[in-house]
Every structure is written in structure tokens, then in C-alpha cells.
Assembly symmetry: C2
Homo-oligomer: 604 residues x 2
Amino acid sequence: MKNLKFNSKIVLAQLNPISGDVEYNKNKAIENIKKALEINADMIIFPELFLLGYPIGDILGRYPFVASQCLKALDEIKEYCEKIAVLIGYPEINPNKTGKPYFNSIAYIKDKKILKSIRKSLLPNYQEHNDYRYFEPCEIDIKERIIELNDIKFGVIVCEDGWNDFDFFERNLYKKDPLKELASYIDVAICPASSPSRAKKEQLKHNMMSYVSEKYGIKYIYVNQTGANDELVYDGLSRVYDEKGTLSAMAKAFEEDFFVVNLSEKGKINPLPKGLELTLNSQKAFSLDHNPDLERTYKAIVVAIKDYFSKNGFERAVLGLSGGLDSTVCAVLLCDALGAKNVYGISMPSKLTSKESKNDAQELAQNLGINFLTIPIKDMHQVISDKFENLFDNISNNWCDRYTNSYTQDNIQARSRSMILWGIANEFPKTLPIATSDKSELYMGYATINGDMSGGYAPICDVVKTKLFALARWMNENRSRKNAIPISIINKPPGAELAINPETGRALLAEEALMPYEFLDEVIWRLENYNQSIDSMMKDEFLYEKKNNLDKTKKSEWLNKFFKRLNTALYKWYILPPGPVIDARSINKAEYRQPVISNISYLK
Amino acid sequence: MKNLKFNSKIVLAQLNPISGDVEYNKNKAIENIKKALEINADMIIFPELFLLGYPIGDILGRYPFVASQCLKALDEIKEYCEKIAVLIGYPEINPNKTGKPYFNSIAYIKDKKILKSIRKSLLPNYQEHNDYRYFEPCEIDIKERIIELNDIKFGVIVCEDGWNDFDFFERNLYKKDPLKELASYIDVAICPASSPSRAKKEQLKHNMMSYVSEKYGIKYIYVNQTGANDELVYDGLSRVYDEKGTLSAMAKAFEEDFFVVNLSEKGKINPLPKGLELTLNSQKAFSLDHNPDLERTYKAIVVAIKDYFSKNGFERAVLGLSGGLDSTVCAVLLCDALGAKNVYGISMPSKLTSKESKNDAQELAQNLGINFLTIPIKDMHQVISDKFENLFDNISNNWCDRYTNSYTQDNIQARSRSMILWGIANEFPKTLPIATSDKSELYMGYATINGDMSGGYAPICDVVKTKLFALARWMNENRSRKNAIPISIINKPPGAELAINPETGRALLAEEALMPYEFLDEVIWRLENYNQSIDSMMKDEFLYEKKNNLDKTKKSEWLNKFFKRLNTALYKWYILPPGPVIDARSINKAEYRQPVISNISYLK
């Protein structure tokens, strides 16, 4: 039998705002309120800080009048709220003479009035979060968080307010747990959020929300932002848990959803990206096993590209197609995000480019149906190289210590290609060139400044090489056009084809220049997820070690090489174009900063 | 007559640490403690968080073992502290299960023991400050902050702890004022700090410290970090105020100083950078008048270059010398920071480069004594341009909307030059190319990606054009070699010489492409210091308006152009190389982030 008490129709407005575009976000809100009125919904809930849009960066600091624009928007919105209750996030100006200038608040609107503003208490300030830069934590009476509607008592907590359970977490960042204080007074917790997607975060989130709703015997409504703004991709997946901690409804992943729930019934449960549901029973938030995460990775990057382009007024991408893995994966993702006709793949062979690479690039473009063109750079390389020889001779009259081995020739090739791509972007409207660097190579600084790491957007800058191989296979199996990626691209060992390895006489392979990717990627994983020093990594056994009988001297040599290269790669991270955050931890600027001049001893 | 009570010898160890280099910082600390022992000092005080070095970025988050390295360093340091009291900053691990993982603490060492750790209470999290990312605020009993030595009661506050006086400031960020709570128990306040230099900050700092020491009738010792790490330059200027709020001793500006004070006497007062002392009586922190700030600007940039190069292992710079103001000012600053023989100026004329520009560049190089070379780029430009023409024709078969007017030709020139500079840096050891973009042009996105805005370091990215003119004049008057900058460079109107203005038939001038710099720079100043919207700027009278009878339509047009261009410049800010923060507010990444996709209505 239905529990009549909970027979209310509630809309979870899982929407995609644009940071700082109050007019756009307001119109989106009004449109959704009208839709909710049409179906006679009792309440509509928007994500945290929806009128401003996450991430906020320093918008409030530099443009305080945007907060006033939000207030005006609220005034307009409330006129639509006679027959419906609305919860919508906005930056509330702090009227006190002490404290940060704003509160991160949820306006509760009903009967055309703003009945109360519920302020966020716990202000995250780690990784990509910067709430404490502008917001004062709320210290009001916990009962202020309660709203009553149709005899149901709802308690509103805002995003991080729900992430501080003292039993669930081993370590807590804050002294208060707003949900704990609130739980005994309410039937339903409502949590408007703006929570970016990251590897293994879903399992932690699910376990936690399930845990607290069962623990307190309350229903739990979670409404998340979706879409991407710069580097952050919000997965949506708004949801409801019942009093037993069971998931009873879930909105779509990575897209907008006007999601209607009735708390007395089990609703539609849209699927998680494939693979993730297998991991929900484990509290362990990280694992070396990338496979379960491939659909989420694919969707997140496609949405990231789509939104970065459209929100910035771009429609088309141009990228170099080398026949290697990085540019290949980028091409597929761009094709799926922007449409094949909006992507131009340019093959720019030099004298070191193999026939196979050229063929692979062309075959890929054909399979994808994207535009394709070959423009050899041999002549350009030669002209520049000749010019340089004369120039360098001149300079070495004053600076006598010219390198006998340098990367100059390698870099001329990479930079000539980038010059061509930027030229195309300058000549054709709404076109961005693409930076194809991957995360493994960025850690090693194995990327050319103003070359392959230059572009308007860097789609795979937070994906390591071993995961890119898996992603390529996954796309070959799961896209409607099967096997678009020629298998030879996946099977050949990666190499930039910029220099000859004197030992082999063939084009230098990346693993010869660096170390095996399987090892390299595990170092990154251990560093990002466990913050291990060299000494600590020496003590643990790597998967690569287990398989390959690696001796300790070699292992130590590779680890030292890794951290030495990392230290000189910091400048490249500093000027890296924006790209989506995908992993649990990243080197994207949204999250991470290490001073370029820093000089850390990574030993222990 | 001397006040015997205060007859103690105290060393203000104004030092230049390297972020994250605990070994280096520890050795520097020990060396200074030994020097202090030699002169029988009673106490030596180091800057805030000295063992780690400011700024810390995310060092503690990614490499928590660095905190353990600091603890080991303290253990080593204390062995030298039998006959001297030491106050030294370090990240203290938070032993509690709740809260951020560290405290920002000052270890008080005496008799070879760490007698107490005094924790920072107020954790700044605005502009370049990120303390709250890793540090838990201290809530201990205020008396824990007191140390007694030679019958004097010292109270220790850490940097921001001293910036929350409720009478001095109109608005306060924090609810507590540690100094107020402490004042009645102590004779002397000690404030170890790491406080970066910014325009007009000195006058605020001086007024505040003078105010509180008089208000409470206590002496006030301030010990600041010096030198530069990445974008932040610390001016040092450690000092002492007496009970009447009078400055009684001040260490040097922008350099290390082993500064000995005796609280019973007036000590040496090293001068502030010229001009600043004139402003100390005003509480007004900002002014349009740049002149008083020129010596500080010069010194800050020179130190910034010196430290960025040496701490990263570089010694030499190569830059394009166009004969224009930006590259000229950069050349002088680099010459003074690195030495003339370590600077290479390259003149890279195109067909648009005037004879005057070439002569000016050469004359400048001669006057400075730096290395100089001319390498025309006409041939390179032609080859690339020809190649592009064919390529673009091909592409326009698929993308039919090719621009009729584009920046492609302008950009080929700027990118060819940058390719030459990066080539030189690749070929010669320890050499960095220089990005010469200035702040006015960066606001307008008037800089070429992978062109003039590309480089390893951007010395003048936080200096607006009108101030650069003033700085050029100041350097001509104040450097030992007078008038090194040819006056024609200062007198001619700025222009990139990349395109022809069809209206004049001559090379397009920057002010024709943008708006008058005097107007532009005032917009920046109003935006950064008063956060004004377009509407609010329309209401105020600009200096330029007053002088030039500007009509409102034109003013509105320029303002709208400014903000439109700013919106598209955001991506360029995102990939801008590091450069020193100079102004009260900046767009350097250390301080400011606006999402690239953001879409703000700047009207009101």
C-alpha cells in the first residue's frame, strides 16, 4: 500500500548552466518551472548555486555585481512560483560586517515569496573546490534548514554538508555534521549539489548516501548539475534513496534531465555508465583496474568537448593525425562530440613518418568520415632547419656551449605542425586546434611546447596511456560504427616519430625514451592515489614487476627518472590548455598546482 | 636612558627559501643560527612556514612526506639551539581525526628542545593565498602564544593573525582578532610572515602595524620572507615598531638580510623603494598615480627574473627585440637581472618592420651591451604563407566559410619569431625564451598564441602600458647607465608591425586596433580595484575624458569593446607563462581564475 504522506510529485531539475551567465541560467530555470507547473508538480529542485553555475572561479571576487544579477533573477523567478515550491541555489550577499562576502545558499520560494535562504555550512576547499574563497560557513539554527510541504518534513543540506558522516568516513574535514543534527526532525533530506565526475567517485557517493539514508531511516534526494564548464564535467545522476538505503530512482548520466519522482513509489532508475555498478559494493575508492571506467571516461570527454566548444562559440576542430594512439583517440572523441563534418584530420608527415603511420591515419579518417588532408612538412622543416643552422653558428660565437645533442630538430617538426593547425584555426571561423598530449607523457614532460601540447583544448590530458589503449578497444566495440580504429594503431608500440634511436637505427619509441607505460602509469596511480614517495614505491610490488622480473636497480632508476622528469615538466603543466578532469586525481589546473621552481626530494 | 628590560639582541632572519626544498631551507636556517650564535644573539626569528617556503601550492597535498622532512629538519636544527631561542615556521601535522591535515605553525626552540608550536589562527584564502586548503585554524588558548625571554613577554602571531583589527579595517574577514586577545599580556608582538609585495600594500601594512602597536602600547616585530617563487615576489622589509607606533628599524627591500635589532634602541632604517614613503600617511590603498611605485616595480621584476631563472637552473634569456616598448623594457630588466652577456636580443624584421624599429632595437642592444643578432623572417614567412595558401584552398572545399579578413598573416610572423626563440633555447643550455606581452594587451587578448605571448617567463605581464612608459623613463634616469633606452622608443606610438591599417596605409597602431592606452589602463584599474561594471564606469569621469572631451557614445563603445575582448582573452590568460605579480590585483594564475566558458554580463 502506498504511503500517502509521500504522495508528492517532485521534479529534480538536472540542468547544465553556464558559469556566470545569470540570464541564461535564469531562463533555463523559468522554462523548467513552467514545465513543472504543467504537470502539477509540488516541488522543483535545482542544483547548488544554479543561478551562478559551477565552477565559479573568481567571478564573485572580480564582478560582485553578478551577485546582484542573481538577486534580480530570483525576483523574476518567484513570480512563477504561486502553485509550486522551488529550491534554487544562488550566492547570497552576507549582510554582516564580518566574514566572507557571500553565503552559498538555497532559496526556498513558495506563494511567490522567498520564504527562506538555507545556507551551506561545510565549504570544501580541496582539489577543484574553492568554496571557502568567497563563502562564509552557515552557523544558523539547524531547524532553519527544515521546510514543510504536504505534511512532509524536508531538510535541506547543500552538497558538502552531506559529506561529513563520522561513522562512514575514517577522517573528517569538519567538526559538524549538519545531516546528523537534522536527521531526527525530518522525513526527507534534500541535497542540491554541483559535484564533478571523477574516477571511482560514484561508488563512494552511492555507498555514502545509501548508508546515511538507512542509518537515519530517511529518504534522500540528490540533485546534481550536469554538463561541463572548462575542466569540470558534472555527471548528473540525480537520485532518490528510500529509508532503507535502497536506490529508488536515478536520472540520466551526463545529460540534462527533467526528472520527476514520487516519493511513495519506486521510480525509473537510469543506468550508470557501464561497469560502474559492479563496483558499488566496495568502499575502496580507487583501483588499478581501469576497465570498469571506460564508458564514463568516454561520456565525460565527449560532453566536455561538446560543452567547451559550444559554450565558447566554437563548432569545429582541426587536429594532426599522426597514425598514433593519442591523435586517434582524440579524433574519435571529437567526431562523436562535434560531428564528423566538423572535424578536420591533417596528416603532416616528415621524413621520419612511416608509410604505415600515414596509411593508418588515412584509414582512420575514412572510417570516421571526418575531413582529411595530407600536407607534408619536409620542406617547411628544411627551410627552418637551414635557417637555424646559420643562426646557431652565429650565436655560438658568444655562447660557446651549444649542445651536441639537442631536441631542436624534433621540436621543429612538432612546432611546424602546430603552426599549421593554428593557421587553419585562424583562417576558418569557429575552429579550434586540438592538443593531443596524454597524461602519461605530460607527467614526463614528453610533449613539445607550442607543438603537440598546444591547442585550444586538450581532450585526453587526464587519461594515461594504458587506459587510452583500453579506451580505443572499448570504442571499437561499443560505438555504433564498430572497429573504426584500425587495429594496427592499437597494436603498434607508441612513438613520436621525431627522432632516430641510434641504438636501433629506427624511429625512437616512447618506451625507449621513457620507461614501459605499464610501469609509468602505475607510478602515476600510486602517486596520485596514495601519495607515495620513491622509498615507499620501492617497498611495494608493482604489477609490472610481478609480470616481468624487474630488478631493483632498474626499478629505482626508473623511479628516479620519473621524478626528475616530473620536476622539469611542471612548466608544461602550467601552460597546458584546458582539458577534462577524468581521474580521481589530476594535474589539470582546476585541481593541482605545484610551484614551477619547487624542488622536492621525493625520496621519503 | 636605555630601557634595560628590552636590552636583547634579536635577529630578523629575512631569507629567501625555495618552495618544497626542505634541505636547502634547513641548511639556510642552520647557517643563520650559527651566525646569530657568533654575535651572541638572544633570539633569531625566521619567516612563516620557512622550512617549506611560500607559496606552497599543493605540495603538502601531493607529497605529504615533505611534512615529515620538515619535522626531521627541526630535529636537526634544535641541536644548534642551546644558547639561543629560535622561532621558525613549519607545517605541523594535525594529530586529530577531524579537520585539515596540518597546522601552519611556528616552532619555539630553546635549550635544544622544541618548547612549543604556535599555530596560525586566521587562514587567508583570497587572491594568491590558499592557507585554508591544507591548514586547520588554531583554536588553542591565547596564552599558548606567549613566550618569555629575558623578562620580556613576547606574543607570537602568524602573518594574517595580525590583519584583523576591528577598528582599523572597515570590513573584517574573521570573527577573532588574536592580537587583541593577546595584547594585554605581552610587551612585544612577533609576527613571522610570508607576505608578497603588491602595489600599495606597503602603505596599508605600515599604517596597520603602526596603528596596532600604538593602540596597544606594545612593540611589534615583523619578519618577512624575501625573494621570488614563481609569480610571487616577497619584499622582505622586516621591521620593528615601538610602543608609540613609530618605525624603529627596517631591513632591506627585496634581498636577504641578517638583520640585528635591539629593542631598547632605534635601529637602522633601510629605505623603502623610492616614492613609497610619500604615500604612508594615506590609508587609501590604490591610486591611479603610478609614479611612486616605479622603483618597487623595477626591483620586484628584477628579483623575480633572477630567482625564477636560478631556482629553475636557467642562466640565460633570449628575446625578440622589435624596437617597441614591451621588448625594450623586458631587455633592460633581463640585462639587470641576469647580466648583459646572458641576454641575447634577436631582431627578426618582416617586410612590415620599419627601418626606425630596426635601428632602435640595435641601439638599445648596444647601449645595454647585450648580445644582438638580426635574422630577417621574410623568407620563412613567405614559405609558410605559400604553403598555407594551397592548404587553405583545399580545406575550403569542405569548409566553405573561410574568413575574408583573418589574422593568419599577422600570426605567422609572430609564431615564426617564437619558433626561432624556442629553437635557440633548445640548442643552448640553460636558456629561456621570453614572453613580452604586457598587461594592457593581455586584457585585450592582443597577443599571439605561440607567438609574442609564448615563452618560459613573462616579466611584464602584470604591468600596464602607461606604467611601462613611466618605467622606461624611470630606468633611463635611475640606472647607472643613463638613457640606455633610445628616446625614440619611448616617444613613438606602440604598434605590433604585423599588419597594415587600410585607412592610413601605414602599419596598424595598437591604439587604432584597441583604444587609447590611457583610457584602457584606467578601465583595468577601475575593474581591478573597484570591481566596477560598465554602468558604473559610465557614471564616473575618467582622466582621459577630462582631458579629451570624450563623448559618451564613444566611451560606451570602448567599454563594451573592452569587456567583449576580455571575454575572448580568457583562454590566453589560461596558458600565459608565469610572470611576477606587481599590481594590487592581477590576472596572473597565482591569483585569479575566470572560467574560459564563463559568459558574464558586465553591464551592472
